[in-house]
Amino acid sequence: MVATAPETMSPPDRGIRWFLAKQTSWSRAVLGSGIAVLTLYIVGAIAVLTSHGWTGTCPEGVTRLECSPSDPLAAGLKSDGLGLVGMVTVVLGSVIVAAAIASWKRMPNRSAREAVISGGVLAAQAVTLSGALLWFRGTDIDRFARNFLNISLIGQKTGLVWDTVVDSIGSIAGVMLTWAAVVAGLVGVYAWLRKTGPRLVIYSALIAAGGGLVWGLISVASVPSFIRGAQNTLVLSGAGAALGFSLGLVLALFTMSKRRVVRAPARIYINFFRGTPLIWQIMFAGVGFVPALRLDLDMYTIAILVLGLNLGAYSSEVYRAGIQSLERGQIEASRTLGLSYFQSMRYVIMPQAIRRVIPPLLNEFVILIKDTSLVSVLGLTIAQKELLGIGRDIYSSSFDATAWLGAAAGYLIITLPMIGIVTIVEKRMRSGLTSVIG
């Protein structure tokens, strides 16, 4: 008798419903109360602070010691209500942590065990956060709030007054639609000619709409000093990246030459720029080299050049690693077919290497975005200042350190999406999708 092959089976469902069905009443209780105590802490704290208000107004001509827009927030932080939220969280959270520690090993299955552990960890996080809050309440909150929590300052300096934004929502949407339509039209023609699918069109239209949103917000902003700083940060890093990534590719090819006379200068260049601090390079170019040679370059151009030259050195090592990670057989097969060295690079090696180096190059780009802050050592004009320079300006005119927080928020708004893109690209590459998609 011939054994028949079993029918193909779909993998068993291991989704959230299966996870919940595996729970015991105890594990459900621990996970539930862990979630509850963390939520209670966050929602409770926000509710107490909101009831006192996040920012306030002061009469004209009063000193910051007498009244600060941060006073309501400070009052909220000092209030008994917030203390109560903190104490309750610490007590409840500790009980849950203790219960989880005592019981996680006794759970009957893995799902229940994971639920108990997660509940305990969430409760521990709530305890840690509220412990930090209780400690913080013991410090000089008034002074801290006056210096760091003047949130209205950031709103003022970004010019993002929400009423204005809400009023102009129609015109912002108009800008977004126009941008998306124009880009979709152009890319659509390209996609139609190349007979590619609609996905490229949709993606580029979405990106264009995002650009339109940023542009719309900027155009309705009234005192856009932080926005202008962010623009300058983007221009400095964008132009620096364009220069640096192109230069890096050329340098990488030079360092892989079989001829020492080609390799040596490239290595000297790379080692010099990797071996000296970027801030030294910026200062030397800005206050030494360029003025001494009487070159007619303004500080902004110098900043872009130095950032690009520096990134060139770092990115060339990334390119080189990417190219050298390919199997030797690839170039051998290509040369065997009669392609020249440069044709092999262009059509066989680079298309594969570029895919591998995109995540590390994006990382270099994130680093570059932050390194643009170093150009603040150059005397840039107000219109040229980037985020950190703007933050410092506001601080030195207002003696309000909230400006530093504003600068940090600006960097995060730019870098977090980039970091997100790196993660997505890396995940796609690991799953092997990009090797199949042409």
């Binding site: 051998e332 097969a333 290509s334 065997t336 077919l337 009669g338 392609l339 059509y347 594969q352």
Partner: protein, 246 residues
């Protein structure tokens, strides 16, 4: 074809990798339609010798002639000479970012300057030749090892070479996939292609080869008709090697 009737002529080839003397004075003539099979223990220099024929390895000493042109002369246009010599590798070396058709058309378009349509037509014909007309759109990662190797053979054949070099092309394949690749090579030999084959497949060597070279320690130790060498090796080293692999 040149005056002495050879496709390939090697004269006094020596190759050192650092201090390692890999090829120690090789002289070899290959005439059209020959199927020369190179066997020998690993490290004997047979792959290096094969790679010397299309100057993937530049010999430290000696001359390589292909079709009467000296390839070791630096004034020779190697890229052009290589279009007439196909080579297939142990690791297939397909371009993973291109599908089967584009793997083949790349050199046709960029080197032979065919139009895209001509190149595609030729690529599809060659894929059919190796029995893969249903895989024209497939990427290398979607093909089995045997299929990848057949695409690699089709890629070389599409250049319409005068000879083909095979470097242990079945060594990386699962046993049940070896047959399909050897079959393609056997067909190619019966069509009159000049071939140099480095292999451990003694059955194939005896059946398809017109001449067998046994290499050991960087020299050609013994040569002759494949069945004669395999069944009646003269040199003790050859005997020992064949006793190991048969």
């Amino acid at each position: 074809m040149n005056s002495d009737g050879t496709v390939v002529r090697l004269e006094g080839i020596h190759k050192w990798f650092g201090d390692l003397h890999v090829l120690r004075g090789i002289d070899l003539k290959i005439v059209p339609k020959e199927v020369v099979v190179l066997i020998g223990p690993s490290g004997s220099g047979k792959s290096t010798l094969l790679r010397t024929i299309n100057v993937l390895e530049e010999p430290t000493e000696g001359k390589v002639f292909f079709d009467g042109v000296e390839l070791t002369d630096i004034r020779t246009d190697l890229n052009r000479a290589r279009t007439h010599m196909g080579m297939v590798f142990q690791q297939f070396n397909l371009f993973p970012h291109l599908n089967a058709t584009d793997n083949i058309t790349l050199a046709l378009i960029k080197v032979l300057k065919l139009s895209k349509d001509e190149a595609t037509t030729r690529a599809h014909a060659e894929l059919e030749h190796v029995g893969l007309s249903d895989k024209v759109e497939s990427y290398p990662s979607q093909l089995s090892g045997g299929q990848q190797q057949r695409v690699a053979i089709a890629r070389s054949l599409a250049m319409q070479p005068k000879m083909m070099l095979f470097d242990e092309v079945t060594s990386a394949l699962d046993p049940e996939l070896i047959g399909e690749v050897l079959g393609v090579m056997q067909d190619l030999a019966s069509e009159g292609m000049t071939m140099v084959v480095v292999t451990h497949e003694m059955g194939f060597a005896g059946r398809v080869g017109t001449r067998l070279l046994f290499m050991d320690d960087g020299v050609i130790l013994e040569e002759g008709l494949p069945p004669e060498v395999i069944n009646n090796p003269k040199h003790t080293r050859t005997q020992a090697f064949l006793a190991e692999v048969l």
